[in-house]
């Protein structure tokens, strides 16, 4: 068999393995919030995830994919030895996939993004040379891993404070919920639609002016908010399940909002994390097909489809179990709190996607949940987890790097 075919087949296999791992863990985390608060059933969550992961990956995933593909390694240096990039990207995929597999078995809170970035930096620095790493860009990415949970936490804090002031602390929370929730739906829909139009449609071939982009995003968001408002008006309070303040029904009103933010979350995840699997794959394919290292190669659609499919399979096989275990444990995240966390995380992630920065969905979501907690929204937060997340950073990056180095030298020896 021709060397190029072997490369592509291997890369596709490893890429699907990685995507499967993302689907089994990361996506499950992103969707568990909505399932835990009973805004969606597990089946609905999988449907939402499948559709919006795809949309996110296709419409807004291009920037992060390109960062993973050519932003971390200085591919100019590899013009003479393109096969090194192939070995390296194969090694990075296999290393990150393996590490995720081990870690999720042990229950460590590792991030897909951290694994793949650590792996790519590892093979580049050791296998090629310290100069082959674009340290400036890597520094930016690492900084974003601190900044993104903080940003999401801050946004979530503000959103939840507004929910408390506008709705929950009022005399008739139900009436206020029915009035204000459509407005939150508008903002959720607007944020995601706008980023999609600004960042995504260009890749698909549309070119819309800035003013028209805002108008279009507003129009779409208004339509979604109106649909939400109709659904909310149909919610009647159930006197048996209530005390005087109608919080039970208030949460059902927020449940409608949470369906929208669940879609945003899946979209945001797709726009950022699918790249972890298909970025290296895309790099291998462009080298294998052209025989040279090129920064301009377009991303073939089947690669995106492969990434999306791997994620959905991961979700459908292992993810379901993760969703139901996590969902059961996060019952404190009622729709009014869960939506604030999801909206904050989704917005942060989508902005990162737009600027091409790979962030960790799970850690961003954790930051958002802590933000709701700081606004006195959550009964009990266990701070030990925050410490464990820091430990996982310190361990994951060297572990990903080490495995990638080992695989790199193996591939260099055995592959043609």
């Amino acid at each position: 068999m021709e060397a190029a075919t072997i490369y592509i087949v291997l890369a596709a296999l490893f890429g699907v393995f990685m995507a499967w791992g993302i689907g089994a863990n990361d996506v499950a985390n992103a969707m568990a919030t909505s399932v835990g608060s009973k805004a969606l059933t597990i089946k609905q969550a999988i449907l939402v995830a499948a559709v919006f992961e795809f949309l996110g990956a296709v419409l807004a995933g291009g920037e992060v994919t390109s960062t993973i593909r050519k932003g971390i390694v200085d591919i100019e240096l590899l013009a003479a030895t393109p096969e090194l990039l192939v070995y390296g990207m194969l090694a990075a995929l296999l290393a990150a996939g393996t590490w995720l597999f081990i870690a999720s078995h042990k229950g460590w809170p590792v991030s897909t993004t951290h694994s793949i970035v650590g792996a790519i930096v590892g093979f580049a620095a050791v296998g090629i040379g310290v100069d082959a790493v674009q340290w400036g860009k890597v520094g930016l990415i690492v900084m974003s891993w601190v900044v993104s949970p903080l940003t999401a936490g801050f946004i979530a804090y503000l959103i939840y404070q507004s929910v408390l002031k506008l709705i929950l602390r009022r005399d008739d929370p139900l009436a206020h919920a029915k009035r204000y929730v459509p407005i939150y739906i508008f903002f959720a829909a607007f944020a995601i639609t706008l980023v999609t139009i600004l960042k995504g449609l260009k890749h698909v071939g549309f070119d819309i002016s800035l003013r028209d982009s805002y108008l279009l995003a507003t129009a779409i968001a208004v339509v979604i908010a109106l649909i939400g408002a109709v659904a909310i008006q149909r919610i009647k309070s159930d006197p048996k399940a209530e005390k005087s303040q109608h919080f039970y029904t208030v949460e059902r009103v927020f449940g409608v909002l949470m369906i929208v933010t669940a879609c945003s979350m899946a979209f945001a995840h797709g726009s950022n994390d699918v790249a972890n699997a298909i970025g290296p794959l895309a790099a291998v394919i462009s080298v294998a097909q052209n025989g040279i290292v090129t920064a301009e190669a377009a991303l073939p659609l089947w690669v995106l489809m492969l990434g999306g499919a791997g994620i959905v399979i991961g979700l459908a096989t292992f993810g379901i179990r993760v969703i139901s275990t996590v969902g059961k444990k996060i019952t404190q995240l009622t729709p009014s709190r869960g939506f604030a966390a999801e909206l904050a995380a989704a917005t942060t992630i989508v902005i990162a996607s737009g600027t091409g920065i790979p962030v960790s969905t799970t850690h961003t979501l954790v930051g958002a949940v802590l933000g709701v907690g700081l606004a006195r929204g959550i009964e009990a937060i266990d701070l030990r987890v925050v410490a464990r997340i820091f430990v996982s950073w310190v361990v994951t990056i060297p572990a990903g790097a080490f495995l990638a180095i080992v695989f790199f030298f193996i591939f260099k020896t055995i592959l043609p």
Partner: protein, 224 residues
């Protein structure tokens, strides 16, 4: 398998605390049929009720231990952990006092003198009312957490606590009257019985005192 997102959440103490006051109240409520039987000298029935009181007191104790175990120091909560633990402690005292007083009556087979028995049972009822009002107030905890301890819900709870205070003041008045009535007839009783009768009135009155302290603890939570 553990999961970061799942593990950020500690076990919420809110529903367990509401469950605990429910059990403590149900325990206190049994004091009325127990005393009715004891006043009549129907000791078989009194023993049966005493067993129920003990069971409920144990159940409250188990719940208390479970809540404490699930409140490690690493928890970050909207209100201080210590305040919740102290609320739990006074809730538990309602059940404890019920057990103490029923144990004392049964142990001495103490007959409440017929002259004050009606007044005594009314006093018991009023103490149970206080426990009931304490339960009603604690049941608002989930709503208080939902609103971050501010706004309309706080006023609602403040009113519940005011009513609790009124009931407790009422039991104090009844207790004084009861003691005065007992003083009138104490010469007709065996001296040791008279001493213990005073003791039983005092212990029963502590049920309302503990209920009132539940209100004080709740108020402390509101002030954060």
């Amino acid at each position: 398998m553990t999961n970061v997102l799942a593990n950020i959440f500690g076990k919420s103490p809110v529903v367990p605390l509401e469950k605990h006051i429910e059990v403590a109240f149900r325990c206190a409520k049994k004091l009325r049929p127990f005393m009715t039987a004891a006043v009549k000298g129907d000791w078989d029935r009194a023993i049966a009720y005493r067993d129920q009181i003990e069971d409920l007191e144990h159940k409250a104790d188990d719940l208390k231990k479970e809540i404490r175990l699930n409140l490690p120091k690493s928890l970050f909560m909207p209100v201080p952990r210590q305040d919740l633990l102290e609320l739990l402690l006074v809730q538990d005292m309602i059940a404890n006092r019920t057990k103490d007083v029923s144990g004392l009556v049964l142990g001495r087979r103490l007959r409440v003198p017929a002259a004050i028995s009606k007044q005594f049972l009314q006093f018991v009822d009023r103490n149970i009312d206080a426990a009931k009002q304490a339960r009603k107030s604690v049941r608002e905890l989930d709503e208080l957490f939902a609103t971050g301890f501010r706004g309309a819900e706080v006023h609602l709870v403040e009113e519940l606590i005011e009513e609790l205070d009124r009931i407790e003041t009422d039991t104090d008045g009844k207790q004084a009257e009861l003691r005065a009535a007992l003083f009138e007839i104490e010469d007709t009783l065996k001296p040791v019985d008279a001493v213990f009768m005073y003791k039983i009135i005092e212990l029963t009155g502590e049920i309302a005192d503990m209920a009132e302290r539940v209100g004080r603890r709740l108020e402390l939570l509101l002030s954060h």
